[in-house]
C-alpha cells in the first residue's frame, strides 16, 4: 500500500537531490503512537509540502526534524550522513531552522534583537548592536522587506512578523527552512508576499518544508508532496502528478471529493436582521466600519468575503453585542435595537462563533460539557445547575454535531481543532439563536471536519436559521454562501448572489483593498 518500497531504490541522482531524509521514523507516546514508521525526504532547493489532517503526525515529524524532539526509533540523514540533533540549537547549527505555527516574535524587543534572540552576537560580554543590525538588514533585504532592523517587533503587522521569523532563520545561515502553517494569520496580500519570498529563497539555495491546510496555496507553491495519515505516509508525489483530488483522497482516505457544488438559495422570507449605515472608528482614527448596510433572512446563509483588517471581525462582534458602533442602526425582527452587552444579544437570539477559538471561545481546562453549556448555563436553573438536564442537552447537541469524543467530561483541550470548533458551535446552538454569526468558521480545521461543518450549517439554514459568516477563503464563500457581500476597508464594496460569486468577481471586488495596501506598503 505504501509507495515507500518503490522509492528506497532511488538512483544516485535522486540521492544527490535529497538534502535531508528521515527513515522509518517511529515516535511513541505513552498510550499512543504518533508516527508509525515514516519516510520523509526533503529535496534540495525545492518546496517540500507536508499535508495531513490534524493529528496525522505532521507537527511531531517536524519537531523531530528540527531537533525539538527525538524519535523513538528510525534515523535522520543529512547530506547522506546520519545525524542526531541534541536540541533545536544543535539543529540550527546544522542549518535546520523552524518557523513556528504560533508566532514566537518577542514584541518588546527590536527586530534585530528578535533575529538574534538567544544567540546574540557579543564581544567581551557586550552585545554588538552594530553587527547585529547589519546582519539583520542583510537578511531582511534578502527577503525583500523594507522593515528597519531597529523598530520594535510588536509594532509590525502580522505578515511582517512572519518575515522577521524567517529572517531569524536566514541570519543563522540555515539551509533548510521548516514552515508550520505560516499563512494561518496572514491576509492574502501578505500571503502573496510570503510566497514571493519563498520562491526567491528557493532560487538562493534554501530548501523549504511547508505545512499548511490550505490546498490552494500548497498547489501554487509546492514542488514535492507528502501526505501523512494516522502516523503513516499515505502518498508522495511531484507537483506534476498531484492535484486537489489526489491530496484530499489521500488525506481523508476517502475516494470522494468534498461537496463543492454551491448550495441552492433558500426561500427568502422577510429580513430578520437589517443594519443601516453602521459606522465605527478604530483606535487610530481610521474607520473600521464605513456606512455598512446589510440584511439577513431566515434560512439564508450570508457570506462576507473580507480579508484580515477588512472590518469583518468588528462587524460580527458589533452584531453580537461585544462592541458598540459610533453611528448607524441595527434592526432585529423589525425593531431597532442596540446591544450593550453580549448577554443582551444572546437573549434576543444572536450567537457568535469567534474567529480564534483558542483565544476567544474555549476554556481549555474545563470539560467539553461545561464548554458547551457555558453561554446558556442559566437555562438549566438560575440558582442550581441541573446536571441531569445539562448533560442530556449537551449529549444531544454533541450527537447532532457529530463531536467525536468518547467522554464529554474530558477537558476540551483534548479535542482536535475541528471538534473544538463544533463545541463552540454547539455552545451557540444551546442558546437557541435565530441568527448565527460565524467568523472564519473553519480556520485551522482539517478537510474532513470542514465538510461536516458545512453540512451542519446548511442543515441549520434549511431549518430556518439565519446564518452570517465571514471568511477570507474564497472557496469557502463559494461553497457555503447563498448570498455574498464583499467587505473591504470597512465598507461593503459589492454584493451579489452565490451564483455570481466567481473568483474573478470576488478578486476584483476586493482589489480596492489590494491597491490601497500597496500604497501603505
Amino acid at each position: 500500500m505504501l509507495p515507500t518500497k518503490l522509492q528506497t531504490s532511488a538512483t544516485s541522482k535522486t540521492r544527490r537531490e535529497i538534502i535531508l531524509e528521515a527513515r522509518n521514523v517511529v515516535r511513541k507516546y505513552p498510550g499512543t503512537t504518533a508516527l508509525k514508521g515514516v519516510d520523509f525526504r526533503v529535496y534540495r532547493n525545492k518546496v517540500n509540502v507536508l499535508i495531513g489532517e490534524n493529528g496525522a503526525g505532521k507537527s511531531t515529524l517536524m519537531r523531530i526534524l528540527a531537533g525539538a524532539e527525538s524519535a523513538t526509533s528510525g534515523e535522520l540523514l543529512l547530506e547522506g550522513e546520519p545525524v542526531a540533533f541534541a536540541d533545536t540549537r544543535d539543529a540550527v547549527k546544522h542549518g535546520l531552522a523552524m518557523v513556528h505555527q504560533e508566532l514566537s516574535v518577542l514584541p518588546n524587543l527590536s527586530v534585530s534583537d528578535n533575529i538574534f534572540a538567544g544567540q546574540e552576537l557579543s564581544r567581551f560580554g557586550v552585545v554588538s548592536e552594530g553587527e547585529q543590525s547589519a546582519r539583520s538588514a542583510e537578511a531582511l533585504g534578502k527577503l525583500g522587506s523594507e522593515t528597519s532592523a531597529c523598530v520594535l517587533a510588536g509594532a509590525l503587522p502580522l505578515g511582517q512578523r512572519q518575515i522577521v521569523e524567517i529572517a531569524r532563520c536566514l541570519a543563522h545561515r540555515s539551509s533548510i527552512l521548516i514552515l508550520d502553517e505560516p499563512t494561518s494569520a496572514l491576509s492574502s496580500a501578505e500571503c502573496d508576499r510570503l510566497f514571493t519570498v519563498l520562491r526567491e529563497l528557493k532560487q538562493q539555495g534554501v530548501s523549504i518544508v511547508y505545512i499548511s491546510h490550505r490546498l490552494q496555496e500548497l498547489l501554487d507553491l509546492g514542488d514535492h508532496f507528502t501526505v501523512l495519515r494516522d502516523g503513516l505516509v499515505a502518498g508522495e508525489g511531484r507537483r506534476s502528478d498531484v492535484d486537489r483530488r489526489w491530496i484530499v483522497e489521500r488525506m481523508t482516505g476517502r475516494n470522494t471529493q468534498p461537496d463543492l457544488s454551491p448550495p441552492t438559495p433558500a426561500d427568502a422570507g422577510g429580513d430578520l436582521l437589517r443594519i443601516d449605515s453602521l459606522t465605527a472608528m478604530g483606535q487610530n482614527g481610521r474607520l473600521v466600519l464605513d456606512r455598512v448596510s446589510l440584511s439577513a433572512r431566515p434560512g439564508q446563509i450570508l457570506g462576507i468575503y473580507g480579508l484580515l483588517g477588512s472590518g469583518r471581525t468588528e462587524l460580527l462582534e458589533m452584531l453580537a453585542g461585544a462592541r458598540t458602533a459610533d453611528s448607524g442602526e441595527i434592526f432585529f425582527r423589525g425593531q431597532r435595537c442596540s446591544f450593550a452587552t453580549v448577554s443582551d444579544a444572546i437573549r434576543c437570539g444572536i450567537a457568535l462563533v469567534p474567529e480564534d477559538r483558542i483565544r476567544d471561545a474555549l476554556v481549555p481546562d474545563r470539560s467539553i460539557r461545561e464548554n458547551i453549556s457555558l453561554a446558556g448555563v442559566r437555562s438549566f436553573g438560575r440558582c442550581f445547575v441541573s446536571r441531569r438536564k445539562e448533560a442530556e442537552r449537551v449529549r444531544e447537541l454533541a450527537a447532532e454535531l457529530k463531536i467525536k469524543a468518547n467522554d464529554l467530561e474530558r477537558p476540551v483541550s483534548s479535542l482536535s481543532g475541528g471538534n473544538q470548533q463544533k463545541v463552540v458551535l454547539a455552545r451557540c446552538l444551546l442558546t437557541a439563536p435565530s441568527l448565527l454569526l460565524l467568523d472564519e468558521p473553519t480556520r485551522g480545521v482539517d478537510v474532513g471536519a470542514k465538510a461536516e461543518i458545512y453540512q451542519i450549517l446548511r442543515g441549520l439554514a434549511s431549518r430556518g436559521l439565519s446564518i452570517v459568516f465571514a471568511s477570507s477563503e474564497m472557496e469557502e464563500i463559494q461553497q457555503l454562501a447563498h448570498r455574498v457581500a464583499v467587505l473591504s476597508l470597512g465598507a461593503i464594496v459589492d454584493e451579489f448572489d452565490a451564483s455570481a460569486a466567481s473568483e474573478d468577481r470576488l478578486f476584483s471586488a476586493a482589489s480596492g483593498l489590494r491597491t490601497h495596501e500597496r500604497e501603505n506598503g
Partner: protein, 354 residues
C-alpha cells in the same frame, strides 16, 4: 496556547488499562487528602495528646480561620485574580467592631449611640465586603493588576485599622449591659452541639461556597473567567460583575475571620491578621488550585487549610522550634505544587496526549 489545539486520537482503550489509569488519577487527585491523613497518623504516633477529642476540637477551631480565608480567596484565584488584602481586612473588621462596641456611633451632636451586637457584626462584615468591592472595582474599572490593587488595599486597610485606635488595642469587648451591647465574646467562643462556633462558620461558608462553585451558574462563570476571560465575555458573561463578586466574597470572609478573632481575644488588635493572606494562598495552592485561574476546587482549599493547620499545631505539640516549622511549611508548599505539576503531566500522558 495553541498547543491545546493539537488533536488527540480518540481510540477507545481497553477496560482493564482504563481502570488502572483511573485509580492512578484518583490517587493523584486525592493526594492532599492522603497527605493530610499521613500527617495525622504521624503526629498521633509522636504525641499521645494529639488524637484526643479536646485537641481535635481546638485544632479544627484553628483551621477554621485559615479555611474561611482560603475559601474566600479561592473564588478570587479561580477567577484569575489574587487577593493580598485579606489579612488587613480581618484586622480592619475587628477594629471596626471594637470601635463600635467601645465608642459607639457619635452623631453630629450628642452622646454616643451604642448598637446591638448583631448590627455591629453586620456592619463589620459590610466593611469587609466593601473593601472587597473596592478591590474588584480597582481591578475591573481601572484595570489595575490584581496583585497591585490588593497590595494597595493591604496597606490602606492596615493603616486605617491602626488609625481607628491610634495603634492601640480596644480592650474589653465583652460590652456593657447598660449599653445593651453584651454578647460579642460568644460570637467566636460559644459552642453549639459541642462544636465551637468558628467551626460552624467554616462548615456553613464552605458549604455555601461549594454550592456556588460546583452547582451554580455563578460558579461556571467564575471558572470561565479564570480559564479564558475573553471567551467568557463573548459568551455573554458579565466579567466585571463576576470579578467584583469574587473580591466582595473574599472580603466578607476575611471580615468574618477578623470578627471571630476579636471575639476570641475579647479585644481588637490593629495588627491582627498580619501575613494571613500568605497562609490563605498557601492553603488554596495546597488544595490544587492553579494561581493562573480556572482550575481548582473549594474542597481542595478546605483540605489545604487542614494540612496547614495540622502541620502548625502538630509541630508545636512536638516541640519543634519555630524556625524549623517555617522550613517544613515551605517544603510542604513546594512539594504540593511540584506534585500538582506531576499530576498534570501524568494526566496528559494517561489521556494519550502529547
Amino acid at each position: 496556547m495553541n498547543k491545546v489545539a493539537a488533536g488527540v486520537p480518540l481510540t477507545p482503550h481497553s477496560s482493564t488499562a482504563s481502570a488502572g489509569k483511573s485509580i492512578a488519577t484518583l490517587l493523584l487527585k486525592l493526594r492532599s487528602v492522603l497527605a493530610l491523613a499521613l500527617l495525622v497518623v504521624f503526629f498521633s504516633s509522636m504525641t499521645s495528646s494529639f488524637l484526643t477529642a479536646n485537641n481535635l476540637s481546638i485544632l479544627t477551631k484553628h483551621v477554621a480561620i485559615t479555611a474561611l480565608l482560603a475559601v474566600g480567596t479561592s473564588f478570587v484565584i479561580l477567577a484569575g485574580g489574587i487577593d493580598l488584602s485579606v489579612g488587613s481586612v480581618a484586622g480592619l473588621s475587628g477594629m471596626t467592631a471594637g470601635y463600635l462596641i467601645v465608642h459607639g456611633i457619635v452623631f453630629a451632636s450628642g452622646d454616643p449611640h451604642f448598637l446591638p451586637i448583631w448590627l455591629v457584626i453586620l456592619l463589620s462584615l459590610l466593611v469587609g465586603g466593601a473593601v472587597g468591592c473596592l478591590n474588584g472595582l480597582l481591578v475591573t474599572r481601572l484595570s489595575i493588576a490584581p496583585f497591585i490593587a490588593t497590595l494597595g488595599t493591604l496597606y490602606v486597610g492596615r493603616g486605617v485599622a491602626l488609625l481607628i485606635s491610634n495603634g492601640r488595642t480596644f480592650p474589653g469587648l465583652a460590652g456593657d449591659a447598660a449599653r445593651h451591647n453584651t454578647g460579642f465574646p460568644a460570637f467566636g467562643q460559644a459552642y453549639l452541639l459541642g462544636v465551637p462556633s468558628p467551626v460552624w462558620f467554616m462548615a456553613i461558608i464552605t458549604l455555601i461556597a461549594w454550592v456556588l462553585a460546583a452547582k451554580s451558574p455563578f460558579g461556571r462563570h467564575v471558572y470561565a473567567v479564570g480559564g479564558n476571560e475573553r471567551a467568557a465575555q463573548l459568551c455573554g458573561i458579565n466579567v466585571c460583575r463576576v470579578k467584583i463578586s469574587t473580591y466582595a466574597f473574599s472580603g466578607a470572609c476575611a471580615a468574618l475571620v477578623g470578627l471571630v478573632i476579636a471575639s476570641q481575644l475579647e479585644a481588637a488588635h490593629p495588627a491582627t491578621g498580619q501575613s494571613f493572606e500568605l497562609n490563605a494562598i498557601a492553603a488554596v495552592v495546597l488544595g490544587g488550585t492553579s494561581l493562573m485561574g480556572g482550575r481548582g476546587s473549594i474542597g481542595g482549599s478546605l483540605v489545604g487549610a487542614f494540612v496547614i493547620g495540622v502541620l502548625a499545631d502538630g509541630l508545636v505539640m512536638l516541640g519543634v522550634s519555630e524556625f524549623w516549622q517555617m522550613v517544613i511549611k515551605g517544603i510542604v508548599i513546594i512539594l504540593a505544587v511540584a506534585v500538582d505539576q506531576l499530576q498534570n503531566r501524568v494526566q496528559l500522558r494517561l489521556a494519550g496526549g502529547r
